[in-house]
């Protein structure tokens, strides 16, 4: 593999990382917001979220990114391939995150909520002070799991012309006629990215240990 090839690999890796991180950064809070709308049973809005989750979880990433890339310009909304990609990954991961947050919310101990109510806390206050800080740690393993799925599924965005970490290996191989080295290096980079997420999870879980006996 040439120095040029390395350069291309790093550029591909950067694309994968920033697009994935952006989608994660948007998709986690968005999932929380959607889950709250769902559990609030607001008429119409809550049904829309339910429908969105069903469709979002059932749609392959390639289908979704092609759809956004083709359909949005057709109705007059100009969208570049990067926006389409971030939007695709965000919408996909948010639909899974909605369900993660929702189950975390629903399994929150009723006894703690009652104590907060009895102390005169309003819904917004006890959600922010009592529920959310604990829900974060409860949801963490499932959220991180979903993040790793997102990174591993991200090569789908290449279909609209983005040269991500997987796509770039093809490019390099077509120049060098040696497909194996770039693929192996790309694999290692994926493993390192996911490994650092797992590492982050461990650090955060250590912080939780200060108040949990286990």
């Amino acid at each position: 593999m040439t120095a040029d090839g390395f350069q291309m690999l790093l550029e591909g890796a950067w694309i994968t990382v920033w697009i994935s991180l952006l989608a994660i950064a948007l998709g986690v809070p968005l999932g929380l917001l959607f889950s709250l709308i769902r559990v609030s049973r607001l008429p119409v809005l809550s049904q829309i979220i339910t429908l969105y989750v069903s469709v979002g979880r059932a749609t392959p990433l390639i289908t979704l990114v092609l759809f956004l890339f083709v359909a949005l310009p057709a109705i007059g909304l100009d969208i570049d391939k990067y926006t389409a990609s971030v939007l695709t990954l965000t919408l996909n991961t948010a639909s899974f995150n909605t369900e993660i947050w929702r189950s975390t919310y629903l399994s929150f101990p009723k006894s703690q909520i009652e104590a907060a109510q009895a102390m005169g806390m309003t819904r917004g206050l006890y959600f922010r002070r009592i529920m959310l800080p604990q829900m974060f740690y409860t949801a963490l393993p499932a959220l991180l799991n979903e993040m790793t799925f997102l990174i591993k599924a991200s090569p789908a965005i290449a279909v609209v012309g983005i040269v991500d970490l997987t796509r770039v290996t093809n490019r390099i191989a077509s120049q060098t006629y040696e497909p194996l080295p770039p693929i192996i290096i790309a694999g290692v980079i994926y493993m390192l990215s996911i490994g650092s997420l797992v590492r982050l999870q461990r650090v955060l879980e250590d912080r939780r240990k200060r108040y949990a006996s286990a």
Binding site: A115, Q117, A118, G120, M121, T122, R129, Y211, S213
Partner: protein, 255 residues
């Protein structure tokens, strides 16, 4: 506590509550005057805890009225339900101690005690901490202020829960079987704290199975069975001379 004794701090009128087809409360009324301790006794399933939950509206009664210092709880006089905010404001004036403590595990002991005064009442943090330290001293846990609840025994947790409720300077304290989840050797430390509170003139409504506490500490005993108040009298008369057959049978099981 400038109010005359004749004005009840807490008043419940004709409370009814059903869970589906099962009617748990059949029109229960009670009053507590300032500084009094009232114990509610009765067999399991008699509706004692449900009554207590209705009083601060953790359970919405089907009908009936509740007043704290003459102000309605849960429903406006015109029958309209209170908003979350209005309900919270009135609940803030009633302390509640739960059977299973219900401390917030992500907060230290001190943080549990100052949370509501700071967040709900807007007490400055330094002042809330000072008050919390006094309360923790009162319940004998000043050395536990910086530990998390998981490391405490049941009796210690319950004493923190009492301090947490007291930190709001409530008009009345509601105790829902505060010692029922405790190992027998830990019951005493919690009852001792409750005895001190009675002596200091706190107004208390206590659902309990501790007959000795009810007999020695309360000003009045309410005996409930099958969702209604069967006897309401002084502890002396209730324990020495229960009038109804149901109360006699109940007491026979504790002797």
């Amino acid at each position: 506590m400038a109010r005359p004794d004749s004005d009840p701090v807490l008043k419940a009128l004709n409370i009814t509550k059903s869970f589906g087809a099962l009617q748990v409360l059949h029109g229960v009324s009670l009053e507590i005057n300032s500084g009094k301790t009232v114990s509610i006794l009765g067999p399991s399933g008699s509706g004692k805890s449900t009554l207590l939950r209705c009083i601060n509206w953790l359970e919405r009664p089907n009908s009936g009225e509740i007043y704290l210092d003459g102000e309605p709880v849960g429903r406006h006089p015109n029958g309209e339900l209170m908003s979350d905010r209005e309900l919270a404001a009135i609940r803030a004036r009633m302390g509640k101690v739960f059977q299973s403590f219900n401390l917030w595990p992500h907060f230290t002991v001190l943080e549990n005690v100052i949370e509501a005064p700071v967040q709900v009442l807007g007490v400055p943090k330094a002042q809330a901490i000072e008050q919390a330290e006094q309360l923790l001293q009162k319940v004998g846990l000043q050395d536990k202020r910086d530990v998390y609840p998981y490391s405490l025994s049941g009796g210690q947790k319950q004493r923190v829960a009492i301090a947490r409720a007291l930190a709001m300077s409530p008009r009345v304290m509601l105790f829902d079987e505060p010692t029922s989840a405790l190992d027998p050797e830990l019951v005493g430390e919690v009852l001792a704290v409750m005895r001190d509170l009675t002596r200091e003139g706190m107004t208390m409504l206590v659902v309990t199975h501790e007959m000795a506490f009810a007999r020695d500490v309360s000003d009045e005993v309410i005996f409930m069975d099958q969702g209604e108040i069967v006897e309401q009298t002084t502890p002396d008369r209730f324990f020495s001379n229960p009038e109804t057959r149901r109360a006699q049978q109940f007491l026979a099981r504790y002797q």
